[in-house]
Symmetry: C2
Subunit: 235 residues, 2 copies
Amino acid sequence: MQPEISDHIFYSFLTGGLCASSSTTSTTTTSSFYPFTIEDTISQEKALAAQRNHKEAERRRRERINSHLNKLRKLLSCNSKTDKATLLAKVVQRVKELKQETLEITDETLPSETDEISVLNSEDSSSYNEDGRIIFKVSFSCEDRPDLLQDLMETLESLQMETIFADLTTVGGRSRNVLVVAADKEHHGVESVQFLQNALKSLLERSSKSVMMGHGGGGGERLKRRRALDHIIMV
Amino acid sequence: MQPEISDHIFYSFLTGGLCASSSTTSTTTTSSFYPFTIEDTISQEKALAAQRNHKEAERRRRERINSHLNKLRKLLSCNSKTDKATLLAKVVQRVKELKQETLEITDETLPSETDEISVLNSEDSSSYNEDGRIIFKVSFSCEDRPDLLQDLMETLESLQMETIFADLTTVGGRSRNVLVVAADKEHHGVESVQFLQNALKSLLERSSKSVMMGHGGGGGERLKRRRALDHIIMV
DNA sequence: AATGACACGTGAGGC
DNA sequence: TGCCTCACGTGTCAT
């Protein structure tokens, strides 16, 4: 908080108002002999009013900005003493994170246009470990067919793998399946990724054979449909 | 961009340095007769240096803040002429949206601890319409069992409803099923919501019967497990 | 003492 | 012209 006095001193110094107009500054068209003419007084009052307006407008602007910054502090559950710069840096990071997060979720959930298979074992990418068991994450997209799920379960059963988590999404005739499966370490190692991949590949081949006829349209129709569904799902 | 000259004039005015120290400002302990002592010069240089440091530090601070603001402009694909205040308002809105979005997604996807049934017809909440068909959104959580899916499909088939979208998530012995189904308007109206709800209710009752024995543990164990799975899924 | 962060008032420039 | 936004330099408080 600044003392109000300094404001006025400062201002009158810069404008050269109250002291005199006899300095090197260009004199006004009204080159009166007397330092205080009516016009001078009026224009000075106007100038003062303008300056006051300006000052207050600027204050409001600052308040607006700071209020939004405070909202962001709350949203990021930041201490009220967090720097503006640091806060904004965190906001940038958070927005990036959230953006990618939702992207990944929809990407991982919705079927892709093309057939895809992905098999990961958890030891590759993270240190997750369950004693005596090895965990795989399986994800694939393909055309949907009535007995796809049953085939999948039989496949996993024949590989002696237990399904811990399953997310099966079907939309517009295509299916996206994400599974987390556990296998005994006696029978399986990291090389079992190959088994899984091959088993899934044959699954997809069966799938593409069985749907050879029936679907004539291309992907465009499906895309339109998916968008409509997105609308519903958001309800 | 301000002319540098005014800086120096302004500064020397405020410090009262170059002119005189005979003003009302408190004189220094060195009350020398001469206006320019060595100590004065030295302290003035120091003061000047300090002021310069201060000025530049403040400039850097501004640059830091503005750089983050520009990053946010890019992230929100805002025009570079967007107000700081407006930009920040949009950032606040965006963060809120994204937060709720991810929350809804995980909420809609993961099974809830308690059994739940929700049936909506799209005409209630949105204007979505498909000529000659009425669309329902079905969502329920229950204990998982081997023939749950088959029962569900049979139920829908018996109701003459076609599944447009299905998202089936199973984790830790519980199942979350979200379906969008379409029904012919000849056979179904908005009142069919009741049929669906009743059919699902019996489905869940069958489910809870079939799992009466087997699961002894409560929900705590499952929660732990789900958290571990979240870890995997994020890979 | 020195540094950093902030609010302030101001001039400049865009409509 | 007036209104609005911004960058700037400053005083001030806290660490």
